[in-house]
Symmetry: C2
Amino acid sequence: MADPKARPVTLRSIADQLGLHISTVSRVLNGPAEDGARAASGDTAERIRRLAAELGYQPDPHGSGLRTGRSRLIGVLVPRVSDLVLATIYEGIDEAAGERGLTTIAANSLDDDEVRRTRTKMLLARRVDGLIFGDARLDDAFLDRLAADGVRFVLVNRRAGNHPSVTPDDRLGGRLAAEHLLDLGHTDVAVIAGPPFASTGADRTAGFLDHYRDSGIRIPDARVLHSAFDTAGGRAAADTLLRSPDRPTAIFAVNDFAAIGALGAARDHGLRVGADVAIMGYNDTPLAAELPIPLTSVAVPMHEIGRRALELLTRLLAGEQIESERLAPILAPRASTGAGQTGP
Amino acid sequence: MADPKARPVTLRSIADQLGLHISTVSRVLNGPAEDGARAASGDTAERIRRLAAELGYQPDPHGSGLRTGRSRLIGVLVPRVSDLVLATIYEGIDEAAGERGLTTIAANSLDDDEVRRTRTKMLLARRVDGLIFGDARLDDAFLDRLAADGVRFVLVNRRAGNHPSVTPDDRLGGRLAAEHLLDLGHTDVAVIAGPPFASTGADRTAGFLDHYRDSGIRIPDARVLHSAFDTAGGRAAADTLLRSPDRPTAIFAVNDFAAIGALGAARDHGLRVGADVAIMGYNDTPLAAELPIPLTSVAVPMHEIGRRALELLTRLLAGEQIESERLAPILAPRASTGAGQTGP
DNA sequence: TCCCGTTGCCCAAACGTTTGGGCCAAACGT
DNA sequence: ACGTTTGGCCCAAACGTTTGGGCAACGGGA
């Protein structure tokens, strides 16, 4: 890798060693495409490349960043990296970034406005070239302000205003969930809708209600509960729903973790999930299929969403005109709604 | 935040605006402690600070990095950020880093040697000041080599050789698990031990076996199965254990996800977890308590481990002598081993 | 009065890179 | 033989910061 105590290898050390000028080395090592020929003879170029490889030359980002004004750094702000959904999206982002020689910096916003501001400021202080936000709120003054300031960013998972975004088609996902439960005969259903400020929960809920309405069934407002996206939130909401005597026969949680909480609540109430009450989640977290009672869910290509978000951002940074993308979800029926395994 | 179309605010722009020299501004804005007084009069210093704040000056890391040779960047390599355990540790790292004005860069190694090398090289190319590895292997030639090359790093979660590390006291944790199962009367027990190269699994297993041996019970080798740390791995291992007629009465999985897989396998075999068979995990993931059948686990202060790792690294970077730390785990007994809730 | 120590600031170099513009010689066209 | 192109390379400036060393002016002690 690197010699034990060697001085850092720079363009100058390579140039001196070869009796060339530093700029020649720089040109050769940068754009083999157009400038490659102009920069040096094939022979010289070859010698440069060989020595650079041998010494393990890696351009110093401080030097190039200073000169070019670009850092090749991408900031990624998410509610929490320990949230499996966002972590998976982040992996997609990071993977695509790596392929382009970009480095990502992740930070948690905890869905808190104050934290968002300070973390964003830190990322900008690091001179990131662009940002990806995974914590957009439906009415997001902060993002509007940022956009007005000329900061370049795209949104992922959650949409907001008409800032460019890559999200699952949550409206469609909500319809798929409704279709599934309706096919199973559930007409008295409830929704654990997540916090009201997240487009994911809101759109999934809206799609779900749409489908029922289109089928002539109106779901009363009392059947839609807002909650946190986590297990505790889901458990509390499900508990409220199930303790009533006219409890719903099926519950759609807009997030797998909330659904797992609902599973626990159902058990506390002595209900057999899949038989006495149907419960389904959303996102098809790896855990869903592996639970003791496998959880019906709506699969979302999270990794791919992350990749696309980074691609979109690089196109934005390149000055191209870009448009938001919605990726289609797929239903994954399992035992928690009494459905069999997928397959014929 | 930043003016719409303003030129970037630099030391020079501040200095010019105040009719001062750039170096004066730099000194004032850097060390108010010692140099503060030497640098400028109280009055001048005040003017500088006020203008800097007003313009929202943020030092350019490229400039300072170039000059000082330090990037204030910390690289963090983990198997996967989407693994809840490592994600939580990472959050601790990042939190502590933020408090010190450091920025972390996370990367996935997927526990693959080739990926580790390339990702580490990328981080070094970014000129990180130090590294934190969460994917150490018991016999880790790569880390040895890195240390020999003078790269500064600490390990987290997993230990290796005598590189400095911050880990849970896994040996103790294993003993706690054994003690719990033994107290419940289980003498025929099995271990789902995780992959053999991870100190976590190995030490937990060793501690577990130690305690049984100390109590006069020898667990046969066939009762210790290696597996992946994830749900699928746990399910497969548990399936092997439970399909035999002389199946164990209790299973200790060294990781909650493997334990969840085991829960599923138990269900597949028609066994009631907590009654017919006891199953326990490790790490006390937030999920453990929320599962339909709450999972007995061993709680580990993951967030704190992350914080400590970063502190250790900063001390190392400051040239101090440092020593590895082990943090004590706590048993969290729940229904999956037939234990009641915690409490008196 | 002279000297010395502070105070308060400025000067300049250096870190490593990129890039617009040279400049010399060889090759080519007529 | 003479102009023009082109290949192949060098020059130098600039990006923003830190930091060791100045250098005046001023105040105080002898």
